[in-house]
Each structure stands twice: as C-alpha cells, then as structure tokens.
Symmetry: C2
Subunit: 516 residues, 2 copies
Amino acid sequence: MQKISRRDALKMSLAGAGALALGGVNANAATNEKEVKFDEEYDVIVIGSGFAGSMATLKALERGLKVLMVEKMGRSGGNSVINVGNMAVPNNEYQKEKGIKDSKELFIADCLKDGLNLNHVDLLEVIYDRANEAYEYLKTIGVEFSSKVISASGHSVMRAVQVKVASGSGYIRPMHKKIEENPNALIKKRTKFDEFVLDESGRVVGVKCRENYKFDGELKSDDLENTSGEVKFIKAKKGVILAAGGFSSDKWFRAQQVPYLKTDIDTVSQPGATAGALTAAINIGANPLLLSWIQLNPYTNPTEKGFGTSAVFTNHCSNDYGLSVNPKTGKRFMNEHAGRKIKCDAIFKVMAEGANNDNYPVNICDQAAVDANNPLYTSKGVESGSIKKFNTLEELAKAYGIPVEPFLKTVADFNGYVKEGKDPEFGKPLAKADVHGIDVSKPPFYASLSMPKILYCMGGVQINAKAEVISMNTQKPIPGLYACGEITGGVQGGGRLGTMSMSDCMVFGMIAGENV
Amino acid sequence: MQKISRRDALKMSLAGAGALALGGVNANAATNEKEVKFDEEYDVIVIGSGFAGSMATLKALERGLKVLMVEKMGRSGGNSVINVGNMAVPNNEYQKEKGIKDSKELFIADCLKDGLNLNHVDLLEVIYDRANEAYEYLKTIGVEFSSKVISASGHSVMRAVQVKVASGSGYIRPMHKKIEENPNALIKKRTKFDEFVLDESGRVVGVKCRENYKFDGELKSDDLENTSGEVKFIKAKKGVILAAGGFSSDKWFRAQQVPYLKTDIDTVSQPGATAGALTAAINIGANPLLLSWIQLNPYTNPTEKGFGTSAVFTNHCSNDYGLSVNPKTGKRFMNEHAGRKIKCDAIFKVMAEGANNDNYPVNICDQAAVDANNPLYTSKGVESGSIKKFNTLEELAKAYGIPVEPFLKTVADFNGYVKEGKDPEFGKPLAKADVHGIDVSKPPFYASLSMPKILYCMGGVQINAKAEVISMNTQKPIPGLYACGEITGGVQGGGRLGTMSMSDCMVFGMIAGENV
C-alpha cells in the first residue's frame, strides 16, 4: 500500500514543504484517485453482506463480474440474519392459490398510509413489479419457504411469504453459499469501509478500507474512535454498491435526528449498525433523505434484550390473530393490526400508567393462532420464558395481574367482533386478516409482554429506480455509486410496513447488481 | 483573482499533464485554502441578510470586528422582510404587565408538543433564556413595537410581541441602517455564496462567491444552472456565519424530502429560498437534521399569490379570536388555535370536499377581534380584496355559499363556549387565549378563505448552544463555521410554533455574532 496524500502533493507542487505531520482531518472524507495506488482491483465492490448486499452480489456475479463483498463485522449478514424472515411479495403463488386479489394501487396505498405520504412512489412501483421475481429467484438458489401467505402489520391483504426456519439466516445461508461457490466472488469479513475513492470527474472508482479491523462495541463511537486494521485501497472498475444497512445502534447519530432516542433505549439491531457508511456517502454528495424517521418495534419484550424470542409471536400469533390488553384494565387499547408507529404510541401510553413506565401490555392468543403460523414463532419463546403458556384465561390474567372479569368480557367481546367481522372499538380489519379470536374451549393460551425498541431507519441516501445514488449537488446519479436496502431513504417514507424491508433489500439489491 | 485548482496542482506534481479541460465536478464542493489567493479579507463573513444574519452582523460589529454580509438577491432581508413581524419573547415586559405567568417548562412543553418531541431541548432553553435580551436590544436600535402581548398558534399563553408596521421590514430596516452606519461593515448584494474554503485542518477560513450575480427564478434550479457573476475568494479570519434561510422555494430539493410537495404548490417564501447554501455546508460535513420536516402555512389565501394580505388577519384576528367554518356545512371543523400541521391537515380535508379541492374554509371574526390586533392586519387585506367585510352574518354566509341557519347556530354555540371558557367540540383554549367570540350586535364582520402554502423548513444543519455547526463526521463543531436561523435544524423539531422563527433567528444570530 502506497499513498501520496493530496496535502503532500499540494505541498510539493505549491509550497515545497517537507513531510509535516498534520493532525487535523479535512471534513471532506473522500480520497482522490490520483493520491492512491490501488492494492486490489475488482469489477464491483459491495459494502455490506446482508440481504441487499448479497442479492446485489449474486446478480452481479450472474453477469460474469468479479465482485468483492466487504463486511466490517466478524460474521456475515448484519441485521439480516437476526431478521424474522418474512417478505412482502405482491402476486406471489400462495396469494394466487388463496384467491387473494392484490393490486399496485392497493400495495402503494398501504405503504403510503404508514409512510405518511413521504414515500417515493416510483420506488414502490418497482418493488410491486419485481418482488415476485426476486422471490422466485431465491427459491432457485435454495431458500425454503413455508407454503403459505401471511398477514403482516399495515398490509390490508395477506401478501407476505415466510421462510421455513423463521429467521433471515434462511436466506443468508443459501445466498452466501452460492456466492462462496463462485470463483469470481470474494467475501472479506472484518473489513471496514472508510471512504470512497473518486476520480477527477467525481466518479466513484473504489474504496479506502481497513482489513483485520476489529469492531469495538464498547467505544462511544466505533466509527470515530476505532483505528484498528490496515488501510487498503481497492479499485472497483464498474462501481460500488452501498448496502451497509441502518444506524439503529449509532447512539450519537440517531439521537441527533430523534432526540428522544438519546436515552439508553434498546434496539433490535446488531451493534455494528452505525452511520459511518451513510455519512461517507453524504460526504460525496449523496442526498440524505428522511434521516429523522426511525421506526420502533412494537412487538419486542421488556424481559429480554434486543429482538429476543417473543417478538415474532407477539406480531404474528397474538397481534394478527389475537388481542392485546392493558393489564391495569383488562381492556384492549389499540387496533392490533395498525401500523407500527400507531401501535408504539399506544403501547407507550399504556406503559406510562406504570410507576416506572412499566405497565407493559399483554399480548394474547390461543393454540389455533399458534398453529396458523410457523411453530418456531412460539416454541423459541416458550423455551426461553419470554412467552408464557396457560391452561385457562383466568390463570393467564392472574399471572399478569389483569383484573379477571373485565378481561374475560374483553375476550368475549372480541370474539363477538370476530364473528361479525368488524371491530367497532379500534377498527382492526378482522374480516380481511383471517383473525381467529380466542377459542376459550381449546387451551392452552399464550401470552407475552411488549415494549418498543429501535428497529429500523427509514432514512438514508436517495436512489432512483435503477438503484443509482442521487447527488444533492447535481440532482443526478453519482457515477459509479449504487445503493440498496436500509441505507437508502425514500422507499419506506416515514413508516415501513412489516415484511417490507426484505422486499426493499431483495428488489433493489437485484437492481443494483443488474445495473452496476 | 487568481486560482490554481487542486486538479491542476495534482497534475503538475504527479501526472505532469497539460491544461486539459475537465467537464465534471468533484461532488465534494469545497475549496482548499492552498488552491486560492484571497481577493479580500474580513474578520467575519455572514451569508444571508435576514433576521439571523443581521443580528449576527450587529453583534460581531459590537465587538469591533470587520464584517462582510453577502446576499445573493438584489434586495436585502430574504424572507424576513415578508414576515409578519411577531416574535415569541417569554418574560417580556407586556407579559409581566398583564400578569401572564410564563415558565421555561411551559415554553418548552409548548414547543415540544408541535415539534413532536423532535426539538433539541438545549437550544430551546437558550431561546427561553435570551429572547427578552434580544427584544430589548432591538428596541435600542430603533425597532418599534406595539404595546401589547399577543397570542400565537400553539402557544398556551400570550407571549409574542408585535412590530408596529406589521412586517418584518420593521426590524430589517433599523438593523440594516445600523449596519450600514458602521465603517467596519459592508453589505454586498447580488453576491452568491458558492462554497467554503477550508484550510488543511478542515477549518472554514473563507468562501468562494460570485459578485454581480443575477438570480434567475425562471431556471429549473438556479443553484445548478445559473453561472452569472465573477468568482471571488474572500477570507474570514474569525469565521463564517451561515444565515441563508430555508429551501421552501427549491422545488427539487423540497420534493425529494417531502414528495407530496412536488406539485406546483405555492409557497410564501421569496424565490431565492433555495438549498444551495445548505448543501454546501453538508458537503463539508455539517450534520443535516430533520430535512424532511417542512411546514405549511394554514392561513394563506387561495385568491392571492404567496403570503398575501389576509394570512395575518386569518391567523390573529379570526383564528385567535373568532372561528373557521366549512362552507359546505356551516360548522366548525378544527381547534382554530391548534398547531399548524393539525390545522393544515384539517383544512386539506375540508378542501377535499370540493370538486377541485376547492372547498376552502371561511375564517370569520368581528370588529372587536380586528381592534384587538394591529389594524394593518385587516386593512391591507380589505383594501386588496382578500378580506371581505359584511354588515350581517347572513350576508357573509350568502357571499360564501354557507347554509345560513347551521352557520348562525355554529356562531351561537361558539359564543356559548366562549362564555363558558371551554370548547367541548375541538378543545380551543378559550379561557387562556382571550377569545372574544362574535358579537352579533356589533357589525361589521370580516371573512377570508384559507389554503395551506409552503412556509418554513424546520430542518437544516445541526448547531450547538454556541451556534457552532456540528459535523456528522467528527461529532464536534466544524472550526470556523457558525449558523443561525432557518438554515439550522433541531430548534423547532418537527413543527414550529407561530412567532418562534423570529425568536430563533434573533437569539442564535446574537449568539453567532458573540461567538464567532
């Protein structure tokens, strides 16, 4: 590795100064191609190894390109491997089998509702048009799906597919296997992308990164303070694809955008989800969109860390099929099928009735609801203790200190609504969402607690329908730079629907790999 | 003016190439000090000539500094001169006179409510602590205020002062007079700031700008396409203060952040309110906060362009003291004293009842409400025709096609609420806000229509309590760079209260001028 810095070059040419050590850094964190000698060369460099980066890599490899994937952490897959593995796929085979009518209008209307009209509709159209193609492709490389279509938060029809193992690793494993089999591909873990290398026209022609980097979650800011690893300059002849995910674990960055997230609020993201790659892109002009829109997960559990083992049960078994109650009153308090922001706000309100913000809502369902979903959604939590199992509703109520009679009335009322297909209290879409209610004659019954945790960054760099990154300075694509997945902003507007992250990652990953 | 570009320098030193013409631009739009020879030198350069920039200039001049103010437009004052001129000043003399109790807690709670908890509270504290000092200073330099304290949108107590001439020019004129009298000050109009000049440590040491620049509102993007003027490099020994305002008139930039603002929706801002200065700051690492929060004005009138002549009447005479009705029903439809976003959403809903989104709400008040405010608030609109005057409420109803009987019942009900001091329908704070109701025995009555227009950008670069611009790359101040006013983000969170823009501009302008 050899580097002649711009400053030194300027000194040589203009000032004639010697090798003065310079303490400061130019805030413009990008390197000029003329200043470096590349250590390695590929057609494409992909930054990040989750859904979006993996799909981009596979599609670039299909075109015969030589691809380097860099991942800063010691394990591949980022947040994607701790994702639950459901993907919104309009017009998928099971939707057709069940006779569920979907349409572009309906899909976009659903997204815009939770997205508060802040979504870039042209990008939603691309997802609608191509999600099924991505899904069908994933099957061909060995991703195994359950034979059903499921309901998910904020969607007005069932349109999500489920991966069999109930975890994003069900995608990442076969995807990475396929990548690793390809002689044109190389995955470098513990390799931290630091900044872009630009040529004189402003085109992205490579990256500055560090190999043998060791992420340190104990640092206040790993991006700022961690100097581990050896610097390498790597050339990308065709382009760089940014697929580095969100910044949910970046305590400083997220708290500037959303000050009330500055406390020690928990997140479901892996600790490496920081803003360094995003800011490197903004430093070269990438238009930052919607950075202040950070989604919380209304399904997570106060009795365990991070995403935990009950969130998927709470989401799909209880919230989709059953009901949630306020333990102080035994009454429902929200449309359990509403969008995430609406639910988080409602949960925070219930929690605030506790002396220490700890009046956590109780999420309930029956055995039929468990059976309607992947059994792993429930068994993992029952095993870890985050989901409790009861023989009677009375036992359940007592265990959580819920007043029994009001609670039983709530369940009876809810069952009545299910029969009628209409929820007069909170407008839960009972007819459409295949809700069972609680069959009180068929124990056992299941319950979990919920407390919102930081889930997802809607904001990020702007892309167009070709996954090209748009410059705020030129209003045009930054040549050589593509992005996909959570690091982009615009697709999800101000609120992402459940299962839409995967659709976003897979479709725009595919497109980035096709276009780079 | 002499410039050796970085590219040329690099070529000389490394590649030895000749004078190749390069079409592209490096997206990193900042200049290295080594590449330029400064044409002029000041202690401080202030970018923008509105409230914030003028206050910053005055305070820097007080310290004996040599200050250059650059303004890209042909006239000074930006949006500030077309502002209505009311300023929230907690603990001002008239509040004390009237025995109105204010407190930091109340002030911050009001701001956080409309700001959706996205405000940086440390910055709100600074405004609370120092707004009265700014107000008292403004009086000493000749700004003339009415002897009253008024109510304003979203504030739970009356805390705003009114400038006598009912226009922001009532501040800008004396402020600029004072600036122009000072031999250490120079104002350059038609001078466009293009980018910052940094030294090797990353410190802002000057600007690249263009003199004799001619803004062209007909261009799709003036920032991108307008090449007029002669380039000058100007040194700022102490620092640069960015006070260039918001981007409400930047059709491209605002529509990327908030896609539903992409249509030909009108704005109350002057045409020069574009994003160029903001993006130049982001290009050198300034942390972009809350860019997707753009406020609409619920008071503007569909029968005239821009801010027009009736908005201040609608806001202060009708919405504060009177009522608004849906012309289709004759009924009220909102808390007329709610925050701006709530009101805009309610107005859009009423408008949508018209075939062409044109069922505009009618805003009504009586003579007493007009008399309670600056008479110019009403006389200008009556003169231009944007406010209509009627001898009876029946006449008023007929003129707008409002069903008479329901309308009269609405007025009678509203008067009842005023007597009771409580609005059971929409929760308008009648007791606190000194609301008169409509005295049906005392004509004339006044009415205007309303349609929301783009008003204000809550987002911008991050600053700290010293008005230093915070870098997303270092999490620390960018040395030599200060910002104040609408170009900053964080103070107003996701929603600015009425009269809070001026407090923000004046207080942080003062602080920037003190600290630079």
